[in-house]
């Protein structure tokens, strides 16, 4: 049986959609491929505050998911940090079984970033992708006010932009799918709005392979 947990760490409201798009598109693709899948947002800690760390979850399995009603991913195999400075802030590696993947949106190299990762010995690979540059380097700095006004704390209900991954989510999805094979590239690619960033990211991933050990 193959069962995979993906946890996305992102920033409340301003990057909420980016995190949500990652888990929603991957779970939808898994469903299309005939697998059992589930995507949800962290429910219990009121994640709708600007800039606060929030989590999005995805579960993909060959068999029916029996822990569907549990709030959090307890053993994430894949972790995505939508915003690079989160690498220092929290024990996002907690519960990861040996052989996991960490994807970070950053312009730094994996060799530089690994020093900040708590418990890196569990990783099979550390993937860095400069998603902000690939999507549009102005995406956040120039649109911050607009994003803040558009998104509010409505868990996605009041967003004007209905397209999936128009911004930095596209390169991050490319990084996850290419390095983990959680779903097929051909299944997810048609859903992605920013195809250019998605395609470019496939060739611009900085991957550090590691030898994971049990802790």
């Amino acid at each position: 049986m193959s069962y995979t947990e993906l946890t996305v760490w992102t920033r409340g409201i301003i990057m909420d959609k980016e995190g949500r798009d990652i888990v929603n598109s991957i779970s939808a693709s898994a469903r299309i491929e005939g697998k059992y899948a589930q995507a949800m947002e962290n429910y219990v800690d009121n994640p709708d505050r600007t800039n606060c760390p929030t989590r999005k979850y995805c579960r993909v399995s060959d068999e029916i998911i029996e822990n569907e009603l549990t709030y959090e991913n307890e053993q994430p195999n894949i972790i995505v940090l939508v915003e690079g400075t989160m690498v220092k802030g929290w024990d996002y590696m907690r519960g990861m079984p040996p052989g996991g993947t960490l994807v970070i949106n950053t312009h730094y190299t994996p060799e530089y970033m690994i020093r900040f990762v708590p418990g890196p010995e569990r990783l099979a690979q550390l993937v860095c992708v400069d998603a902000a540059k690939l999507a549009d380097h102005k995406w956040l700095y120039y649109r911050l006010g607009e994003l803040g006004l558009d998104r509010l704390s409505t868990e996605g209900a009041a967003e004007r932009n209905k397209s999936i991954a128009p911004d930095i989510a596209a390169p991050l999805i490319a990084a996850v799918v290419k390095t983990t094979g959680i779903v097929k590239m051909a299944t997810i690619e048609p859903m992605i709005a920013n195809k250019k960033a998605f395609e470019m990211a496939l060739n611009e991933l900085h991957i550090m392979s590691l030898n994971p050990v049990a802790v």
Binding site: A28, R31, Q38, A39, M40, E41, Y43, V44, N46, E66, N67, E68, L69, T70, Y71, T154, E155, A157, A158
Partner: protein, 402 residues
């Protein structure tokens, strides 16, 4: 009636909150009274979008509190509108004054409740105490365990409540998060099916200046008893209508629900869980695993708690040696010093010739997920009681005992 094969079906993947909003849209509600509180908020947001996009033609009124919200619902229903409202947790409590007037004036208002634990402290997790604290206010009440059932229950409840033989408001409840925020496959019906099942609403005595009537006037004490008796009878007599409506629903939509209890693997069971709501989903997995180990355990899930199917509960539960009531609600200082469901179960069994042992399990409190190993633990307690022929104690707080 349209042949099922001809019916164009559409399955979407939505969560319980959106399923409720979709059901309100299919029911073509006239007035929506809203006031935000998580997790119900997602339903009101989905409805706001539908109205804004022109998918649903309804008056959408955002109140200044839940008390005003239910007052608006009461007023709108009195004028003959089909009304949809909803709330969660302390929001349900804030509107408490209105529950008796709404059922007392026999207004079939529908309220969606996505359960949330009452304060203190602030907790988004699902506990049934918010809705259950209003259980004797004359509202028809029941829980769904997934998004599809939530969708269906809304349509079924409108049909029951608006039946001229009933005319009672309905609380259509779902667990916060476990249903409200978990996505599931929901088969949306053809609008023709809904039209056939749920005719346009027509209250017999709406407030209308051309045909003056009086609603809710001050009365003398001696006029009280007949009014209360009428309301109690309406609730009692709704039982036949509820069964009728579930049959009709199965005919038109092809999904058959037992109106009162769902039985899962109970045929040869010695011990069963008795519960409401979404934890039944995990309970079914746990029971399958325990069956693989040869343990004769099953599940009886209550679908409608008001009106309470006393005789049905008695007949079903009398078959077993032990019953474990999973409360998910607070009944502090009550019969079992645990939850309120225990009292309902034990009272129904009192007249039975063959009474099972009954244990009350305080599990899922504060909205904590009840995990597989906790179901195994509770089953051990029931089997132990069965073996010894008596219970160790009435109430077990799951997770706090060996």
């Amino acid at each position: 009636m349209a042949m099922l094969a001809d019916v164009k079906k559409r399955t979407v993947r939505i969560n319980g909150c959106v399923a409720s909003a979709q059901a309100a849209k299919y029911a073509d509600v006239d007035v929506i009274a809203a006031y935000p509180i998580r997790p119900y908020t997602a339903t009101m947001m989905a409805l706001a979008q539908m109205v804004a996009n022109g998918e649903l033609d309804a008056e959408y009124i955002v109140a200044d509190s839940e008390h005003s919200q239910l007052s608006i619902a009461h007023g709108a229903a009195s004028s003959g509108a089909r009304v949809f409202t909803g709330s969660s947790g302390v929001g349900v409590q804030f509107a408490y004054e209105l529950y008796s007037p709404i059922s007392g004036s026999r207004m079939p208002v529908q309220m969606m409740i996505a359960d949330r634990t009452l304060d203190p402290p602030g907790d988004f997790g699902s506990e049934h105490t918010d809705a259950l604290s209003t259980r004797d206010m004359g509202w028809i009440m029941g829980w769904s365990c997934d998004a599809q059932e939530a969708f269906d229950n809304h349509l079924i409840a409108y049909r029951i409540g608006e039946d001229p033989r009933v005319l009672l408001p309905q609380m259509v409840c779902q667990d916060g998060f476990f249903v409200s925020h978990i996505t599931g496959d929901v088969e949306l019906p053809d609008t023709g099916q809904v039209k056939e099942f749920l005719p346009p609403y027509k209250h017999p005595y709406p407030l209308d200046p051309r045909h003056p009537v009086s609603h809710g006037p001050q009365i003398m004490p001696e006029q009280g008893p007949p009014l209360q008796l009428e309301r109690a009878r309406a609730m009692e007599e709704s039982m036949a209508v509820i069964e009728e409506v579930h049959d009709e629903f199965a005919k038109i939509f092809g999904r058959r629900y037992d109106p009162w209890v769902e039985e899962f693997m109970t045929d040869d069971a010695d011990v069963v869980f008795f519960m409401q709501g979404a934890h039944a989903v995990t309970a079914r997995f746990a029971i399958q695993h325990m069956r693989d180990r040869g343990l004769k355990v099953g599940l009886v899930r209550l679908r409608t708690i008001r009106p309470y199917p006393t005789d049905r509960v008695k007949d079903v539960l009398s078959k077993f040696k032990a019953v474990g009531v999973i409360e998910t609600n607070m009944g502090i200082g009550g019969v079992s010093s645990g939850g309120v469901l225990y009292a309902e179960v034990v009272a129904a069994l009192y007249e039975s010739q063959k009474r099972p042992l009954v244990l009350s399990f305080m599990a899922g409190m504060g909205g904590e997920a009840i995990v597989l190993k906790e179901f195994y633990w509770m089953t051990e307690k029931m089997l132990d009681a069965q073996k010894r022929g008596k219970i160790e104690k009435r109430t077990h707080w799951v997770g706090f005992e060996e």
